[in-house]
């Protein structure tokens, strides 16, 4: 065709693309089945068996609902979840409103403040509240004699813990406002309150419901807070723990797990339904709303944000501060003694190192796995049935509370017949469990990133006889690097802070920092627990800062092809 002719023949491939893709999809399905589906199945089936492994139908459930203690926990869980949700949502809404609809200064700072709790295990706010409102708390009198140990403490800690999740959703919802509607309303002389009711609220209603659903689920499924500050107030998650760890009553633990699954699954489907509708609501021609400066409103909202953001920082700060106190409340001198963990826990600093190890492993294995998995589902055409199955399994963990997944792991991996039982109690199973627990969000992140890149890259590569894995490496991964980093940091931080799933799974020598917090708190060493929580928070925030730095480099000069 021209001066230089291409004579080199395409290299002979033993591994054809289709075979590789099929194999990888098969592997992914197998892994997801092992990590997600089978443990859940084990939990489900366990709830129908008695201690001797005989099928007893719904007998365990009947026993559950005939036991007043357990039913009371269910009601308690619903109660605190409802209360926490009704408090968090207005709080977060106003906060998000201030961040999106005002011209107050330092929005970035305040947004970051509201997100802080994400980097802490849920145990931390509970520990802080003990110092603030406990029987020796410095603001104890504010409770007018009521006890922090119980629903009050649980709800307060949950508000702190859930605030970032609600704020993120509501900031996104309010940020999508269509400026044209406000212009229209203004030109019609609408009062501000009416505008809020007729334009702002309806525009954010799906965000509000979605946030409420997320918060409700978080509260119902959280274990750490109720464990530390629940006192005699039992909730579902602590019941599951007591049944399984305290009394080794696995059948009843399985039933509690199944009960725990119900609200979470319901919430999941409500949320999905709403999300689908919200997409239809958004018009492509919307003009972003740009708030006008307005001194009084901006000042008021700024004051509000200082208050709420300040409180969040204060709750976090109290735990950090308490970790350096020698003997609360009788000796307030500074000490590092609480960080000498060997004094409080047989494993000393080992749990912290284990946590780093598990979080690192989760991120190191999870990130490529999630991304390649999403790539296979999104960009290849091999085994449609297998891909559909993997897709379903990838979305499943979203609806499964950590506690439930953890129980499933106990039943599945600890079963005498299971050769994978050798994994029980190892770092590997902890990392696998964390990965499974947080798979969905990571998967969605990867899929979203992949959907944004040209769908024809694979076709072009095929036409150029370049196998898809080369294109994945040379093109797809570099383009998606920011999303890949997001996934890695997300997995790392969550594996570091989670407690609910792993509490059932650690073994000799593999106790995690978050579990050490639970144990130290159980033994009354609350200052050491706060110290360990401080280590986790510091690490998580450090990793996030590193991430921001890397991101800045990625989008900076190093990759000028990312021009807007």
């Amino acid at each position: 065709m021209s001066a230089t002719t291409v004579t080199a023949a395409p290299p002979r491939r033993l591994l054809t693309e289709e075979r590789v893709a099929t194999g990888l999809v098969g592997l992914l399905c197998l892994l997801l089945l092992l990590a997600i589906a089978l443990p859940l199945w084990a939990l489900l089936s366990k709830s129908f068996l008695d201690d001797q492994g005989r099928f007893v139908g719904l007998a365990n459930y009947a026993r559950y609902f005939a036991t007043p203690v357990l039913v009371q926990s269910l009601l308690n869980s619903l109660f605190v979840a409802t209360l926490a949700t009704t408090i968090v949502i207005p709080l977060a809404f106003l906060y998000a409103y201030a961040l999106t609809r005002s011209r107050m200064p330092a929005k970035g700072l305040f947004y970051a403040l509201a997100l802080l709790p994400i980097f802490a295990p849920s145990l931390l706010p509970a520990l802080s509240l003990v110092y603030i409102f406990g029987n020796q708390g410095f603001l104890k009198d504010l409770l007018f004699g009521a006890s922090i140990y119980g629903p009050i403490g649980i709800v307060m800690a949950q508000v702190f813990y859930c605030l970032p999740h609600a704020t993120m959703i509501l900031v996104a919802a309010l940020g999508l406002a269509d400026g044209r509607l406000y212009e229209a309303a203004k030109s019609l002389g609408t009062t501000r309150w009416r505008m809020f009711r007729t334009v702002t609220l309806p525009g954010a209603q799906y965000g509000l419901v979605s946030a409420a659903v997320v918060v409700f689920t978080l509260v119902i499924t959280d274990f750490g807070i109720a464990k530390v500050i629940g006192g005699q107030f039992n909730v579902l998650a602590t019941d599951a723990y007591k049944q399984v760890v305290g009394q080794q009553n696995f059948a009843m633990g399985a039933v509690v797990g199944m009960v725990l699954l119900v609200p979470a699954v319901l919430a999941f489907f409500v949320d999905r339904l709403l999300r689908r509708r919200q997409v239809a609501l958004l018009s492509a021609r919307a003009v972003p709303y740009a708030p006008q400066p307005e001194r009084r409103r901006d000042l008021l909202l700024l004051g509000y944000c200082i208050l709420v953001g300040g409180l969040v920082a204060a709750v976090l700060g109290v735990a950090v501060w308490a970790s350096f106190i020698r003997y609360w409340p009788y000796n307030l001198s500074f000490t590092l003694a609480n960080y000498a963990f060997a004094e409080f826990d047989p494993d000393g600093w080992q749990p912290y190192l284990n946590s780093l190890w598990v979080a690192g492993l989760t991120a190191a294995i999870g990130t490529p796995l999630v991304f390649v998995g999403a790539y296979l589902l999104e960009k290849t055409r091999a085994v449609p049935l297998g891909r559909a199955l993997a897709q379903l399994l990838a979305m499943l963990p979203m609806a499964v509370p950590g506690m439930v997944l953890g129980l499933g792991y106990v039943f599945f991996f600890n079963a005498p017949w299971n050769p994978l039982g050798i994994l029980y109690g190892t770092v590997a199973i902890l990392a696998l469990n964390c990965l499974a627990h947080f798979y969905t969000v990571a998967h969605i992140t990867a899929v979203t990133a992949l959907k944004q890149i040209d769908g024809e890259f694979e076709a072009v590569s095929a036409s150029l006889q370049v196998p898809f894995w080369v294109t994945l490496r040379r093109v797809t991964v570099p383009i998606c690097l920011p999303a890949i980093l997001d996934i890695a940091v997300y997995l790392f931080v969550n594996a570091l802070t989670t407690v609910s799933a792993v509490i059932f799974l650690y073994g000799p020598g593999t106790k995690l920092a978050s579990i050490a917090i639970v144990h130290m708190d159980e033994a009354g060493a609350i200052a050491a627990a706060a110290a360990m929580a401080t280590c986790i928070v510091a690490t998580a925030i450090g990793v996030k800062l590193l991430h921001l730095l890397l991101d800045a480099v990625l989008f900076g000069r190093a990759q000028r092809w990312r021009a807007r």
Binding site: M1, S2, A3, T4, T5, V6, A8, A9, P10, P11, T16, E17, E18, D454, E456, F457, A459, V460, S461, A462, S463, L464, Q465, V466, P467, V470, T471, R474, V475, P478, I479, Q559, R560, W561, R562, A563
Partner: protein, 391 residues
């Protein structure tokens, strides 16, 4: 395809007759069928493309043209039928074994690679010496007119330049078949015009067998050696641009390619049809004319309406009133109505010269003739094709 009266050509014969070319076929598609659920995207497609030919798949969106292209490429798998490329049956081969280059509407350039790396993408994988790759890439960039842009990233190029890079990349491995999937649709009108000439010239020069999918009939007419007009998953007609334009095989083709005025008509003896109360003469053609009373659809391109030197004795001559004029630059499109037959309306194109010479304006009465050889006769079917007379 020279006969306008063969409404329903015997199955397989029409496409085959047109699809067969003198040169040995490079691409041979047989009875290709693709279904998506209950929807049939491709319905027993037969097609042959000769080596070095430039073929356009033309049709409205959803007609199956892109599916056909993707199936040929192996990016989509047919349910039935076979595909041969260069004498090799590739019906079940993966795309990588089909020896084609492809260019997409979206360019699909790798944004993180330089122009040079994009063009050399397929070469690197072949373990060619680095110097040979560099030489080949430089040559290709020269070929598409971007000799100095090798170190830029795609975002730094205009749309037209990006598409040239995509073209160079597709040609880099010297594929036997070049597939272009709406390559010009994303470009500005001027760039599009320019690039289509370049692509055509390049294709002629390299002699690479090329298939281009487009929904733009003008593009197809200007570029293709042959056009494959598709609708509802079947091929309506295959032919040279001129054949397609002058002798559309169906009302659909006639309406889709160019503009045509349609009349509801009935057969009234050999070479005679009736439109409302008016009788018109048409070419009887070689094969039998439909029986009297057969419902027909009559089509006439606006530029075929005769106006100069029309006398009363001419075939199909009558007086028409200029109802409306639409200014289209070099020419005007007039809506005419027959004075003696209310409701008989048609479109006619008049060049600017003619307008001036004959002093044509709204309300003017003209004597026009509809040449029998220009009147196309189609069967009347309501489920397909043009939607009847304008107005």
């Amino acid at each position: 395809m020279t006969t306008a009266f063969r409404f329903e050509p015997p199955a397989g014969e029409m496409p085959a007759a047109a699809g067969r070319t003198a040169a040995p076929a490079f691409l041979r598609v047989r009875s290709l069928t693709r279904r998506f659920g209950s929807f049939t995207a491709l319905d027993r497609i037969d097609l042959e493309v000769a080596r070095g030919e430039f073929v356009c798949f033309l049709g409205p969106s959803g007609c199956g043209k892109t599916t056909l292209l993707r199936t040929i490429a192996g990016l989509d798998r047919q349910d039935e039928g076979s595909i041969e490329i260069g004498g090799r049956d590739v019906s079940t081969a993966p795309p990588a074994d089909r020896d084609f280059g492809i260019v997409f509407q979206s360019y699909a350039l790798f944004p993180n690679l330089t122009v040079t790396d994009n063009v050399g993408y397929g070469l690197v994988n072949r373990r060619m010496p680095r110097a040979a790759i560099a030489a080949r890439v430089a040559e290709l960039l020269r070929l598409v007119g971007l000799p100095d842009q090798g170190r830029k990233f795609p975002v730094q190029l205009s749309g037209g330049q990006q598409q040239r890079v995509a073209l160079a990349r597709a040609l880099a491995t010297s594929p036997g078949l070049l597939l272009l999937d709406e390559p010009l649709s994303a470009l500005d009108a001027r760039v599009r015009l320019h690039l289509r000439e370049e692509i055509r010239a390049l294709q002629r020069r390299l002699g690479v067998t090329t298939i281009m999918v487009t929904h733009d009939q003008e593009e197809a007419l200007a570029m293709a050696d042959r056009i494959v007009v598709m609708n509802h998953g079947v091929i309506e007609q295959i032919g040279t641009p001129e054949e397609i334009y002058r002798r559309p095989a169906s009302a659909f083709v006639a309406d889709f390619v160019g503009t045509m005025t349609f009349f509801e008509a009935t057969a009234a003896g050999p070479g005679q049809v009736r439109v409302g109360t008016r009788g018109l003469r048409v070419d009887a053609g070689a094969t039998g004319f439909p029986a009297d009373g057969t419902p027909l659809r009559l089509g006439l391109r606006p530029e075929e309406v005769r106006i100069r030197g029309v006398t009363t004795g001419d075939d199909n001559a009558f007086e028409a009133l200029v109802e409306d004029l639409e200014f289209l630059g070099p020419f005007c499109r007039a809506r005419l109505s027959a004075r003696d037959a209310p409701g008989f309306e048609l479109l006619a194109d008049f060049s600017a010269n003619l307008m001036r010479d004959l002093d044509i304006a709204c309300g003017a009465v003209l004597r026009i003739a509809l040449p029998p050889g220009s009147l196309r006769v189609f069967p009347r079917r309501d489920d397909r094709g043009g939607n009847g007379a304008p107005a």
